[in-house]
Symmetry: C2
Amino acid sequence: MADDMQDKEYVSTDGYKGVRDFYPPDMFIQNYLFKTMRHAVESFGYVEYSASILEPTELYKAKSGEEIVNEQTYSFKDRGDRDVTLRPEMTPTVARMVAAKKRELAFPLRWYSIPNLFRYEKPQRGRLREHFQLNVDLFGVTDVNAEIEIISVAHAIMQAYGARPDDFQIRINNRQILNFIMTSVFDLTDEDSYKLMKLIDKKDKITPAEFELQTETVLKEKTMTFVSMLEASSLEQFKSILQNTFSTEAIGLTELEILFKALAERGITNAVFSPTLARGFDYYTGIVFEVFDLNPENRRSLFGGGRYDDLLSVFGTEKVPAVGFGMGDVTIRDFLESRSLMPPYHSTTDLYICRVTENNDKEVYDVAQELRKKGLCVAIDFSSKKVPDQIKTASKLAIPFIIVIGEDEIQTKQYKLKNLLSGQETMVSLEEIAQTIKRGV
Amino acid sequence: MADDMQDKEYVSTDGYKGVRDFYPPDMFIQNYLFKTMRHAVESFGYVEYSASILEPTELYKAKSGEEIVNEQTYSFKDRGDRDVTLRPEMTPTVARMVAAKKRELAFPLRWYSIPNLFRYEKPQRGRLREHFQLNVDLFGVTDVNAEIEIISVAHAIMQAYGARPDDFQIRINNRQILNFIMTSVFDLTDEDSYKLMKLIDKKDKITPAEFELQTETVLKEKTMTFVSMLEASSLEQFKSILQNTFSTEAIGLTELEILFKALAERGITNAVFSPTLARGFDYYTGIVFEVFDLNPENRRSLFGGGRYDDLLSVFGTEKVPAVGFGMGDVTIRDFLESRSLMPPYHSTTDLYICRVTENNDKEVYDVAQELRKKGLCVAIDFSSKKVPDQIKTASKLAIPFIIVIGEDEIQTKQYKLKNLLSGQETMVSLEEIAQTIKRGV
């Protein structure tokens, strides 16, 4: 067989383009990111669900961008000629799952998942072909309590990562306000409304003059009033422009007022009204929000979400109110790295046992087992290297503690425990090894 | 948009065929399976790695069954005309990762992962198109210490699941023994060796008479000696037949003797010699093992592994000795269910707060936050249902504890904590709620 192989071309060690290998130090970071997410969302009563990455392609044709299905997904025909897609997002899947068991499930439903998602795009910083995304959804709550909680959860995760209130902003809007203004105040046609929404969405990417120019084609003489509304620095200001100019109050404003008041009462000081925030055109039906990185060198949206009460209707199920958000691992990892909030790598293994000879393997194993029973993670060096080289291995593996076992240690049952980070050494018993390591000394 | 949707056909809530949705009670089981695996393998010093499910198809053409690549994998061309495969197994990926960073990595390397794997097969019990598989590998150890440890890890996982020694057997063989006998004792051609190996592999599926008949076509008059060797009930018996008949000792026997002795010393009482065990034809180069379900109604292999020292050579890297195994979630789940070893479902949420009115939301939130800070997972019922119906919701969600908060509770700061399983009720403070729930009372 070895001969066979030498006749072949060697296989490349490169993985597939645009996806990641997770070596243990990378996996440590993924596990840190996920553990923090899990802990925060579970503390609010969210429970985990999951699904296969394989979905019928049909699921994505229903809503939200034919464009995504056609150009950006991994879609193919399976050997049974069925159209399959590697899920590009989790929302259609969770909607499918809720719709399928709607009668059996108890609402309100607090669900979360950390799926991997696939998009066929040109690999670039922060845009990979496979990434992970925390999805948090609250189903079955019609009132603003759902938004208060979901935004509190998003805030709690940022806090758990060590982000300070002035590191980020929670931008909030209600899509009903813009809808109301466009249809009931400006009396726009569907076509003009859509045109204006598109314009608002790209407002930050074009110059103010350009924005005004293009807005005028839709709003004519009302343009400047509209611009001043969009630039309102607070909900109050926005409301007063609306009242003073049009003697009306938009649907959705009161909800936002309750939301901002509740968030303030709950100690969330960095929530701001953002009248241009729309977050895409498809799912959302009400309040939307976005967590925004305030880093002056990299101002950008980190993640966001909102209310999408209509989603389940594509399955022919009666509507289920839903509020949720998605938080990607790549973006949050960049954010934490830029703020120096990422913990340094260490192995999950607590202790490395170096062997002086190969004659005491049973005794060495017994020591390891004893410590494992006390809750430690223990690896034994099975190489025949000299002890200093075994210690170097432990150090390279980022294992924090070592002991060396030879005849003496087996006789005396006393071990010199060395902390490889501090260099500190102490003579201890097995019981003391467990205690010292658990204390992290 | 709602109108748009009503014009469309409804989308089916069925997922893709042969894969699973994990509703919270299913996810609870997955998390139990994975947590137990992680805990056991990490205690032996194994650290987690991972990789994308997308791999270049080329990776699977190198070794191990053209058949698998051609017929059983999900392989397709991406939009850039590259051949991509959804990984059907993890070993080629881990070999690729080790080969890619061989010079930087510190050996011995103890690595584990719990990847999802994809095979295009007819969905049936225990054979899904997507399943998860714990992969545990020890790289860089040439001697039998590696096998002793890897088999101890497999045993430790079974123990952690609550399996008793007489629930399963660890069957062990060394492929070098059969190789030695076929080439050096029987002087078989490569073709006849292969034919005989295939026969041995299917020995348990055909009648003894059929096996003898087919074996005779290869071994002629040596058939009965060979059959008696294969039926040896112990390593000693096997060894003595070999010595008495052929005056030789097979390569690989001594290694097995050391292994069995070490396993016995380590308290593993259910390891047996199994001279017919081969475990496929590709990777393995030495000792192989299999954990076998002794359930009389369902005797079968649960999982297995062995030594594969040649794998990295397909990457043009010098050899790295490796011993490992893979343990699938579907098989082990079946095993645990058949032995009633699966824990009953409960929510990760500890406590459900029912609201008497909607007028105290801030106070209710404060209570929840206080308890979250004390480490509890707390959900609030935001519905306007009557309290008994809110309690029913908690019960349906399998949340173990509830409190009801109204004006009284806010005034007195005393809460009636109810254990929904036992029905027990106690008047307690917030501090006592945390203590009681953590004690699990």
